[in-house]
Symmetry: C2
DNA sequence: GTCTATATTACGATAGAC
DNA sequence: GTCTATCGTAATATAGAC
């Protein structure tokens, strides 16, 4: 490790600025001029660090996808009953969403206009299928209600979890990461209704 | 009512084409050239019907918002226990989302770059608050679990419902409108867990 | 590594003929 | 109501100096 002097931009530090602007304005709504203003350097200087706008998008969604896929390799996601593994994955998804908030936000808003975007959508689908398989296993083990189709339940649960990126702000006084995780697990598995 | 001869575009028929393209490419990712190709008329002909791209967006999100707000005026949303009213509103939201799918989809993807977009976000917030008040009332009446904060629960439930626009396709063989409504109501109120 | 200047293309919108 | 032609602007990206 060399000395950590970092007065100037690197692809990595530039990325964090770009992702913030992408999320504020939308990827297509963000011009290199916008990025240039936000980063405090000229447009042409950005091209010194990255090949273009799309590379920034690719780096961002890669980071988000890596965080999500790593969950599935963790021990608690691979041992125990399917229901227990599913609960673990749901909670960890909330944690990764919050830990990598801007990157996952961008990932979830990708439309498919460019090759990079289509690749990101493809990998997202792959992750979804892995979690869907877990829910299906939990259903087969009798731990999930039988009156809601598994594929449909998966989509709705993903919808609830992924919606976190639309309102969670780490700086604002409100629900903390732990509270959100608890709430999601309780609602996903137990619903709104008063049980007692 | 005059004769219904309609060989040519009106703002209304043009809107349905535009909204489809907006949803495929994103609003910012859609140029007047894209709309022109999709509608089969020239760019300048579009300007004969509407003042510009933003008017198409405004018409679309207005239609979506009108559909949602009308729910709150319906009798079943205004009489009975708060929990019963909430369940009715949740089910009707699913119906409106599906009935007005492309318009609501566009509404839910608005970012806030233009005045029209900021207005749409403002009205969405208003709708959310009305439903949040219903959930709060249901909690006060003891029909909603006490271990999840009401504001947080509202956001997560909205997240689940709104996510429908990301995958529901009326043409594809899969869950029908009724099945989706049932699934959402069951999961929102009862959760995934096997109750019996 | 950053800048100014600029090439080139695409965009939203308008003018005016038919 | 639709068209072709075009205006002015803003976009991505490059050239070349420092």
């Amino acid at each position: 490790m060399t000395t950590a002097r970092r007065d100037t931009y690197t692809p990595q530090t530039l990325l964090s600025v770009a992702v913030r602007v992408f999320n504020e304005r939308g990827y297509d709504g963000t011009s290199m001029e916008h990025l240039s203003k936000a980063a405090g350097i000229s447009k042409s200087s950005i091209y010194h660090h990255v090949a273009g706008k799309e590379e920034l998008l690719r780096r961002a969604v890669t980071r988000a996808l890596d965080g999500l896929f790593e969950i599935l390799d963790e021990e608690h996601a691979r041992a125990g009953s399917a229901a227990a593994r599913l609960e673990y994955v749901v909670r960890r998804m909330v944690e990764v969403l919050i830990a990598e908030l801007p990157y996952v936000t961008l990932l979830l808003r990708v439309r498919g206009n460019t090759e990079t975007e289509r690749w990101a959508l493809e990998r997202r689908r792959e992750f979804d299928h892995r979690v869907a398989a877990l829910l299906k296993a939990a259903a087969a083990e009798g731990d999930v209600r039988g009156d809601v189709e598994v594929r449909l339940a998966t989509r709705l649960v993903f919808g609830m979890i992924n919606s976190i990126v639309e309102w969670y702000r780490p700086d604002v006084r409100g629900a903390g990461e732990r509270e959100v995780g608890d709430a999601v697990v309780r609602l996903v598995f137990g619903g709104l209704r008063q049980s007692g």
